[in-house]
Structure formats: structure tokens, C-alpha cells
């Protein structure tokens, strides 16, 4: 089994590297269609033709784009992310702090939302058709149908402006106590949980319902096993594959998809960094951010696959 797993992981790793290469090239092509370049953006209204030409020459922007791409790729392979065009600082330095912030927020959200979402999904599957089940379903759909900027703004108004319980900004400042950390993360975590939970609840409910309909679960029930036991011992292991897959996909959203939450709570994360990079046409920075999103996505998906395989007796 271990050999099989190693083989599997090896294959996955190879495919992942290939995917990364495709993504970097796709992103490179996409950036080529962007109008304007970093010299024009930096000069803004002062972008007279002479000024732009001068700055372009000084920044080595006149080299062919493909050459700059391969230069970046070469640097990437040796662990050097290069320098940002916009502010001439090492990209690794720009990303490091932001990535840490993003991961913290993602971890906090995952810790909070995954257990709740799974509990809601599984229990409503167990009580399928009941009032509880229907209200959970209704509530999830209602929650997901409100735009997240509305949830975030309403939250700030109620908890920060009117009640003054929580801060309106979630700047990851020097956190001194656990209580303060809770206060700072409460609102962004809540908002994001609203966004990602609905999908996890729906998927886990559906997967457990499906598993409960399989013949061997029905057999276990006939044998007189209690309902929680049937769900936990028999149905859940079989439903684990789809559930972890849904969780992985929801979590991958927490890195790149949180731009709205980062904007409203002024949280310096990596999604906003990439939006900035696009606005300033900072190609190496766009590339590096895209790579990070891709790596995290692949990591999550692969982990989900491995868990699915390990949990499924047939595949094992």
C-alpha cells in the first residue's frame, strides 16, 4: 500500500509541476493583452512620450516580453522571484508578509467554518426531510444569495459603528492577547464563513444522503445498529471523499477569492497584492502571485484526493 501511495504521490507531483508551467504561461499570455505598461502607469498623467520612453529604457522594459518571461522563469527555478517593477523591491519580501496574513485568515476561517458546516450538513442528512433539515437548507441558500460586500458592510455597521464591540478594520497589528485576536478576526472570519459554508453544507449533506442509500448501510440498519452509529461508522467513511473534495475547493477560495473582504476590512493579504500588481502592470509580481494560488490549489486538491483514496476501502 505504501508503495502504491508513493507512486501515486510521485505522479501527482509531476502533474502538479506541469500544471504550474501551464499556468505561468497562460498568465504570461494574459498579461500580454493588458493595455499599457508599468512605465505608463507609474508616470500617470505625466506620461508624455519622451518620459515614458526614458523610463522604459531605464527599467529594461524594451527587451522582448518572452525574454523577460524566461528570465523570470529561470529565476523562479533557482528560488529567486525577482524584483517588483512598481517599487523595485524583492518580490519575496513583498509576498512574505502578505502571504502570512492570508494564511492566518484562511486558517482561522477554516477552523471556524469547517466543523460547523460539516456538523450542519451531516445532521441535516441524518434528519432528512425534517423541519430542521429544511430550515438548514433554506438558511444556507439565503446566506449565500446575499453579496459578500453587503454582509461585510452590514457587519461593520452593526458591530463596529453602532455597538462598538469590534474594530472596523482588521489590520493584523501587534496582537497582544487571545481576546484581542478574537476581536480582530471575528468579522472577516464570519463574513468568509458565510461565503464558503453553504457549499460545504450542501455537499456534505448530499454525500451522506447518498451513502445512507447504499445497500450495506441499509443492511447495517436492518441489523439494528443505532442511527448515529450507522452514520458515523458506515455512511461517513464512504462519504468522506466527496466531502473532503468540497472542503478543499472551498478552502482554495480563501486565498485568492477574498479580495472583497480584504478591501472592506483593510486586511493586507495576497489577493489585494495581486489586484495591485494587475493595476500597476507589475508582471513579475502577477506571475509570482498566480504561482502561489496555483500551488495552494494543487496542494489542497491533492490532499483531498489522498484522503479520499485512503478512506475508501475499495480504492485502498
Amino acid at each position: 500500500m505504501n508503495l502504491h501511495l508513493c507512486y501515486l504521490l510521485g505522479g501527482r507531483l509531476f502533474v502538479a509541476l506541469l500544471t504550474l508551467l501551464i499556468v505561468s504561461f497562460v498568465v504570461f499570455c494574459a498579461t500580454q493583452i493588458l493595455p499599457g505598461d508599468v512605465a505608463e502607469v507609474l508616470l500617470g498623467q505625466a506620461a508624455t512620450p519622451e518620459a515614458v520612453a526614458g523610463l522604459r529604457a531605464a527599467m529594461h522594459l524594451n527587451d522582448p516580453a518572452i525574454l523577460r518571461f524566461f528570465r523570470w522563469l529561470g529565476g523562479m527555478l533557482t528560488g529567486d522571484l525577482g524584483m517588483s517593477y512598481a517599487n523595485n523591491r524583492p518580490i519575496a519580501e513583498l509576498i512574505a508578509g502578505r502571504l502570512g496574513n492570508s494564511l492566518q485568515l484562511a486558517a482561522a476561517t477554516a477552523l471556524f467554518s469547517v466543523p460547523i458546516a460539516l456538523a450542519l450538513g451531516i445532521t441535516s442528512a441524518m434528519l432528512r426531510g425534517s423541519l430542521y433539515d429544511r430550515s438548514v437548507t433554506m438558511a444556507t441558500i439565503t446566506v449565500i444569495s446575499v453579496p459578500e460586500f453587503m454582509i461585510a458592510t452590514a457587519g461593520v455597521l452593526i458591530f463596529a459603528v453602532w455597538l462598538k464591540w469590534l474594530p472596523a478594520l482588521s489590520f493584523a497589528r501587534n496582537i497582544t492577547s487571545f481576546g484581542e485576536m478574537l476581536r480582530i478576526y471575528a468579522m472577516p472570519v464570519f463574513t468568509l464563513s458565510f461565503v464558503i459554508s453553504a457549499q460545504m453544507i450542501r455537499m456534505s449533506r448530499a454525500a451522506v444522503v447518498e451513502a445512507l442509500n447504499t445497500p450495506y448501510v441499509e443492511m447495517a440498519q436492518l441489523k439494528g445498529a443505532s442511527r448515529p452509529r450507522v452514520v458515523l461508522r458506515h455512511a461517513l467513511p464512504n462519504a468522506l471523499g466527496p466531502i473532503v473534495n468540497a472542503v478543499a475547493l472551498s478552502l482554495s477560495y480563501l486565498l485568492g477569492g477574498v479580495i472583497i473582504v480584504e478591501t472592506i476590512f483593510n486586511y493586507p493579504g495576497i489577493a489585494k497584492l495581486m489586484v495591485d500588481a494587475v493595476a500597476t502592470r507589475d508582471l513579475p509580481l502577477i506571475q509570482s502571485c498566480a504561482m502561489i494560488f496555483c500551488v495552494v490549489y494543487l496542494l489542497l486538491i491533492t490532499t483531498a484526493d489522498v484522503i479520499a483514496i485512503l478512506s475508501n476501502p475499495k480504492l485502498r
Partner: protein, 537 residues
Amino acid sequence: MTDKISSSWTSADDAIVENAIRRGASRRDLLQMLMAGGLAASASSLVLARATSALAQTPVKGGNLKAAGWSSSTADTLDPAKASLSTDYVRCCAFYNRLTFLDGNGTLQMELADKFETKDAKVWTVTLKKGVTFHDGKPLTSDDVIFSLKRHLDPAVGSKSNSLAKQMVEFKAVDPLTVEITLAAPNGDLPTILSTHHFMIIADGTTNFAKANGTGAFTCETFEPGVRSIAVKNKNYFKSGGANLDSFEFFAITDDTARVNALLSGDIQLAAAINPRSMRLVESQPGVVLSKTTTGNYTNLNMRMDMAPGNKADFVEGVKYLLNREQIQKSALRGLAEIANDQPIPPMNKYHNKDLKPRAFDPERAKALFQKAGVLGQTIPIVASDAAGSSVDMAVLVQQAGNAIGMKFDIQRVPSDGYWSNYWLKAPVHFGNINPRPTPDILFSLLYASTAPWNESQYKSEKFDKMLLEARGSLDEAKRKQIYDEMQVMVANEAGTAIPVYISNVDAISNKLKGLLPNPLGGMMGYAFAEYVWLER
């Protein structure tokens, strides 16, 4: 005065309010008094904000200020030559100094310079103050000044003020505290030009701007582009007393609503440039005051005179009559604007021509002019973008007015990204947005001279160019005023730039924050507030 509330509001009224406050009138009393005088509620509280801050009590030392601007990105910079956004200006003002600056009345004051001297407005001798040191301890010398000014000429630096700096052709260090600057042609405005934010003085040889090493009232403790900066009081500041604040954190909250909410919740003490529509919310909250500045920022409709349809003078004039300035002021900007008369020099500037009245909204006259130009019934595309503030709203208003007289305008809203390089100055009919500049000479040479780099409507007039040179070289105030008056009339009547209103900037501040005064260089006290304000406890 930068803070006109309404045309009927005079400085005598200001004095009444100030006296009332001295007598101990409460905010409520004052509001009643002002309402009785017929002022709208929003205007009244603006008066209050100003009157209370004008009655400066003794500054309190200490405290940590948190303030939020409205835009920030990884392109944030501490390099004054590259500074492009309010965020950069605020930081530069905290960490560096200029040779001169403009005070609240628009009067030139010396900062790092002790005096400016010239005989012919061509060769200028600048004497520097003694005993000024950079944050790293190095004393300020003429070499630093020459380095700071000269680098604007190097294209590799990417200076925003390259076109202004080009007239300085020769620099000479006479002695460690005296610099001689020679201009290509006489310009009486040099000291004012050097008061703009790009001409901050940095230490000789500086190339790394990861941290700021200036002479300013604050030292740079943290700077993360696109995130925040933390400034700490400079204990060796050359101005006596130095800053009031112990430290000052600055960042940007791009979402308008979030910025106001952060102020209301007490997370920050200053929210810059709030949206006119947030006024109602802010006014209903105790503990928040508004500071309004009308500095001469404007969004204008440009019709290129070298392309159809702007090549027909009647079309251009028709559009100027079709602009419903009052509706733009009231509806699009919620009253936070002053009606303009199609020329770039705002009422707060001493050279503003008061006799030049704004055109009235006159659709019938516009219709007749369009008919004469032969464009009535055609569809004219107008390019608008969020990059030029409020331009989309203005375009909608023009479109509506046009529909009523059978003139079709097709609004092409384009992305902010790349607007300045792709559409501005290029499209036949488009919107521009011009930031305040302190002198008519800068505005006219940048925007209306035949060779101007930003000649938005391709206006060309030999007479105008000649007058510009004449006023620039002259040191006779009365004569300059007269020439500039006539030039404003020429621009308003001949150029293809329709300037409907000067847009006000409103900063919302906590009532604990004192000492914030309007300044002609922009909101937040011309971006230099950090050095002057204080926090009450």
C-alpha cells in the same frame, strides 16, 4: 479663503460664529443660529468645523494618530519625484521638507530656504537655513538641494514634475548654504513652483527609498507599500517644538463606505476625501466634524479642436451652454463644489478673474449653436472613466440635456486602468481631471500653451503664448494680474475645455483631532497635516 460655504457667507459671518464659540455656545446653539440664518444643515456643520479649528486652543503634545487616505497600492513610494497619489504626498510631507510651502492663505512661506533672491527672475539665489539635519544626522547642504532638484531632469528617475523642472538649466553651489539656480527663461514664480510636493529635499546621492531619510518632522519607522507607514516624531526637528504627535500611522482604505465606518467606529481619527453621499451619515454622528477645501481640482470635458466635432467653434460653445453647472454641483457632487467659469484658476487663487461669469445653462442657445455647427442630430461619443472623478455622472447629465434638444451623446465608459495613457488627450471628446496647481503660470504652461505637454483641447494661440511669457518674466504684480485676467477670458471663450465646477474635498475627522486647517495645495492641509495637528485626550 479656501472654504467658501455659500456666496452669501462672508468673513464677517465667520467672525460671528467664532465669537459665539468664545462665549461658550454649544454646538447645538450654533447650529440653530446658523439654521436661522438660512444655511442648509450640511453647510452649517462645515462652518462649525472650520470655526472651531480656527479657534486653535493650545496644542496638546503626545498621542498616536491613525489616518486613512483613499488609495494605495504596491506602487506607493517614498521617492518624492515619483509621488503620484495623496498617500505618497502625505508621507513625503511627514518625512521631508520643501524649500518653500504655501500656508492656509495661499501665501508663500520659507521652509528649508531662508530666502530666495533674484534681480531678473532668471538667476535665483537660494539661501538655506542653518542647523538643519537629516534623520541620519547629516547636515543639510547645497549639494543635497542640487541633487534633489537635478534628478527631476533624469528620465530614469521617472519624475512627475519633469516638465516643470526642465526650465532649471543650471545649478551652482556657491557655498554650503547657498545655491544658484539659472532658468532657461525668466520666471517670477520659481519659489512657488518649488513649493509643490515633488520638490521635496532628499539627501545627496539617495537611491534607495525603502525608508525615508529626510529633514521632516517625523522619522520613518515602518513603510510597507500598499499596506501602511508608521512615523515617529523627529526629536531633532529644526522647527522649534517639532510635531505635536508622538507617532502617526497612515494607510489607505479604498472602499468609501469602509473608510467612513472606520472613522465612526473610532478605529481612525481622520478619513480623507469622503464621498458627498456619506455626508448625511457622518453629520448624524456626534464626535465627527468635516473639513472642506475647494482647491481648484476639477473634472473637465475636453473637445479636441483639431478633430471633428471640436474643430467647429460653435459645437464647443454649445457644449459649454449645455453643461447644467448647477445640477452638476447639486446632484452629482451634492453641493460639494463651486461653479466654475471654464478656466482653470479657482476663486481661492489671487489671480482668479472675478468678472468672468460662468455660462448659464441654456439648452436653446446650445441647440442653435449645434445647428450652426451642423452637428445637431449626429451622435457624438464621449469618453468617460472613473479615473476622472465624477466624469461618468457628468456625462450622464450632459447626455440627458442633449436628449431634450435632439443632440445625441453616446457615453463610452472605459476602465480606469490605462485611462491617462490611452484616452486622455487622445479621444476627440473626453473627460480629464486636473489637480490643483498653485500658480496660473503652471496651469497655463501645462495645459494651454501651444507646446503644452497636456494641451487637452489642442488649443493654439500665439497671442496667448506671448502673454504667458510676458507674465512669467514680470515681477510687477498688477501687470501680471491684468495679463492673467485676460488669459482666463481667452481660455473660457476659445479653448475646447469645458470646466463646469471646482470640486471640493471633504475630510472627516474626529472631534479629538485639532488644528486641521484648509490649504490651497489640497485636502488634509495640503497633505501636510501630520506636522501641525494634535490629539486631545
